[in-house]
Each structure stands twice: as C-alpha cells, then as structure tokens.
Amino acid sequence: MAQFKNMIYGFEEFGFIVRDLLLGIKTIKYNWDETLTEMYLIGSKALPLVLLGGLFAGVILAIETGHQLKLFGATSLISRTVSLGMVRELGPVVTGLLLAARTGAKNSSEIGAMKLSDQIDALTAFGFNPVHKLVLPRTVAALIMFLPLTLIADITGILGGMLIAKQTFQIEIAWFWDTAINALKMKDLFVGFAKPFFFAFFISTISCYFGLKTKGGTTGLGKNTINAVVYSSIVILILDFIFTKIVWEVL
C-alpha cells in the first residue's frame, strides 16, 4: 500500500515538473548558454558511443538476417532488412538506450548532487525556478541533438550492414544501396524520425525528475541514478512498442 502511495506521489511530482517545464518554455531565451553546453555534452561527447552502437547494430542485423535469408536464397533482401530495421527500429532504440544510460545518468547524478548540496534550494532562494534553469535546457538540448544522433546511428548501421553484405554474402555495394534506399517509405522515415523526439523528452524529464527528488546522501544518489537509467530505458521500449503498433495498425 505504501509503495502504491509512493508511486502516485511520484507521478504527481513528475507531472508538476512537466507542467513547470511547459509553462516555462519561454524562459529558454535566458538559458541559451546552459542549453548550448548541454548540446555539446549530449551531442559531440556521445558521438563515438552512437557511432559504435549504430555500427554494431547494423552488423549484427545483417549477419543474423543474412544467414536466415541464405536458406531461402534471398540474401539480396539483406539491404532492405537492414535499412528498414535500422531506420524504423534499431537506430532510434539503440541510440535511445545508449543515451538513456549516458545522458540519463549524467542528468540524474548532476542534479542529484546539486540537490544534496543545497544548490537547488539556492536557485529557488535566489529567485530561479530549478525546472526552468536545469530541466528545460537539458530537455531542449536533448530534443535538438537526439535526431541527428539517431540519423548517424542509422547511417553507420546501414554502412555496417553493407560491409557484411559485401564480405559475407557477396552482394554488390551499388545494389545494396539502391535497394536499401528504395525500401524506405515515407511512413518509415516519419516513425524513425519521430521516435527520437519522444525518447529525448522522456529520457530528459525522467532523469531530471530522479535528480530533483534525490535524498539520503550518496546511497540515495546512486539509487536514483540507477532508477533514472532503468525507468528511461523501460519508457523507451514501451514507446517503441506503441509506435510500432501504430505503424502496422493505423498508418
């Protein structure tokens, strides 16, 4: 019962943060410096991680599907599987999960440490809304940076798939690219490019929420950082399921 009560309190507090965030959207013009810093930290600092994540997702996808398709003599479909799989599913999800771990942990631990050392109270006491000052720049930076990072993961994934297709299944590079690009329809691009915005919003708000509610010293900080990563990851998978369902049943 107590756990259920805490969960309701949690949803209520999260709702207040999202409300403050949306109401304070105009204050972003006062926080551009912080937003640019966050864009740099989320974007360029996460680039190697996303490059590697995307590349290996594409490579594994090509190997797994290639061997199955070979049984039916349909290895020429590898390019189509890799491009659709990367753009619609693996690109956004792998990027989302990697950024949930990296950006989510960063947001939660930074804000949590600020909470424990009274810096959040200091912001409020000196007339700033912590949600506008801390959560908003991080969320806007994530919203701006997640799409290009996802695109990079998509491209490196398809490149990885192409290498496997050429080396293992002897598929011509020109043929691979031609079929890979032709396989993509507008709805695939729409789904693949819409997901990062939702992932960015929820990773950022969930991780900042756990940072802001940190208490209980270093143990509490560690616990909330774990929660931020775990809950962000779960929300990414749930959102991905919802999107996939919509694509197949509505669009």
Binding site: S117, D118, Q119, A125, F126
Partner: protein, 258 residues
C-alpha cells in the same frame, strides 16, 4: 520586521513544527538555537520561502505572504539572502561567477561593472584576489565567506545563516562571526540557526530556543540563561560543557552555574 504566527509543518506523518510563533525585529541579530532535528533549519526554509507551512501566517513588514503565489513571492525573495550550511556554491563556476550568477541586473551591467561589484563584495568578506578560483580550491571557511558574499550581492534587508560556523576551526568561526557582526553595523538583519553556544553568545541579541518543533523560550541571552524551563537549562548546560567560550565580558559557564 518578520513575524511568524502559529506555523505548523509536517511531512506526511512526521510533524516538524507545531504552532511556532515569534517576531524578528529589524537590525537585531536573532539566533535560533536547539538540538539537531528540532526544526531550526525548517524555520529558515519557511522564511526563505523554500517550504510552505501547512498552516499559520508569515508577515514581512506587515504583509502576509502565506497566501502569495510563487511569482509574487519572488519579489520578496530579492530582499532575503541565504547562506546554506553546505554553502551551496556551484562547482562549475568560479568564485566571481558564483557571486554574480544570481544577479537580476547581470545582463544590463557591463563586464567591468560586474567585476567591480564582485571585487567589492570579495573585499567585504576579506577574500580579495580569489575571484578566479573555483570552489574546490577553497577551504571550508573561505567557501563560507564566498557564500556570504553571494548572499550580499542582492543588497538584501535580511540574511539567513544556516549553521554558519559548524565544521569550521575556531579561527574561521571567529572570522565568520565578525562578518555577521559587520553586517549588523551596515544595518542588515541577520537570522542565524545554530547549535553552537559560542554563536549564541557572540551574536544573539534575540534568542529563540526550539525543541521538538516547539518554541520553548525566547528573549535576550540573560533571559535564556536564567530561564526556569528545564529543557533550556539542560541544553545550555550540556553545550557549555563542550564549548570553551573566548569572550572577555562573558563567561557562560559561570553564568549557567550561578
């Protein structure tokens, strides 16, 4: 002048403050004293507007702020500076940036005007030449003085100090006490939360003793020391046993044992 009337506060089932009432007169230094967990810091956070009490009224110069919205309270906050026990300095900012970070006029002043303001404040707290350092490069006493300079940047009418000398060596404690006294000379009202007897003796013109969320005694140091309240006697006697008071015109130990 600040007046708290019948303030009560609880977090879920835990009662923090019960019907707390007192007045803080202008230019007097008020010390709120009591054991750990008594509710002292909660009072400070209520005055600063960080926490909203469950019931009661808070008056700032006769204006009831209890029902004020967050945005209305912002104007009131500009008149209050706060020095946190942990100092709450921003690690990623230099000393100068920490001092200037909260200034509302930061965008309208030139860089040289801002630097001049920061230097003036650093000079006031005897920290000249430290503007380019970062908090991690400072000692506990230095951090406290920077936190005071930051609180002063607004030219507040009232400064709240949460345990300003806790964790500092005697020399640093003395310098912080001197700073608070210097603020009084400039006409700033200070409210100090402390459980250190030396702070009470050195700073307290008005003392409020809190125990278990209740105000058990208030008044001048003489009134507190001659109180019949058993908790006050016990608390100050225990404090005096662990504190060696260095003040020529006061010997607390003798006063208690009279």
């Amino acid at each position: 002048m600040i007046e708290l009337k019948n303030i009560s506060l609880s977090f879920r089932e835990k009662v923090i403050l019960k019907d707390v009432s007192f007045r803080i007169e202008d230019t007097l230094t008020t010390v709120i004293v009591g054991p750990s967990g008594a509710g002292k810091s909660s009072i400070l956070k209520i005055i600063a507007g960080l926490w909203k009490p469950d019931s009661g009224e808070i008056f700032f110069n006769g204006i009831n702020v209890y029902h004020m919205s967050e945005s209305e309270y912002q104007t009131m906050r500009k008149k209050i500076g706060i020095v946190f026990q942990s100092n709450a300095l921003f690690d990623s900012l230099s000393v100068t940036e920490n001092i200037l970070y909260f200034l509302p006029e930061r965008k309208s002043l030139t860089v040289s005007e801002l630097n001049e303001k920061a230097e003036r404040l650093l000079n006031f707290v005897n920290m000249d030449g430290t503007g380019d350092l970062y908090p991690e490069e400072l000692s506990g006493g230095m951090k406290k003085r920077i936190a005071i300079a930051r609180a002063l940047a607004f030219n507040p009418d009232l400064i709240l100090f949460d345990e300003p000398t806790t964790g500092l060596d005697p020399l640093n404690s003395a310098s912080i006490i001197e700073l608070i006294e210097k603020l009084k000379e400039n006409g700033t009202t200070s409210v100090v939360v402390s459980h250190i007897l030396n702070d009470v003796v050195e700073l307290g013109e008005q003392i409020i003793v809190i125990n278990d969320g209740l105000v058990v005694e208030s008044g001048s140091i003489e009134k507190i020391m001659t109180s019949d309240e058993p908790f006050v006697n016990k608390f100050f006697y225990q404090l005096s046993k662990h504190n060696y008071i260095m003040k020529s015109n006061y010997n607390m130990y003798e006063l208690i044992n009279v």
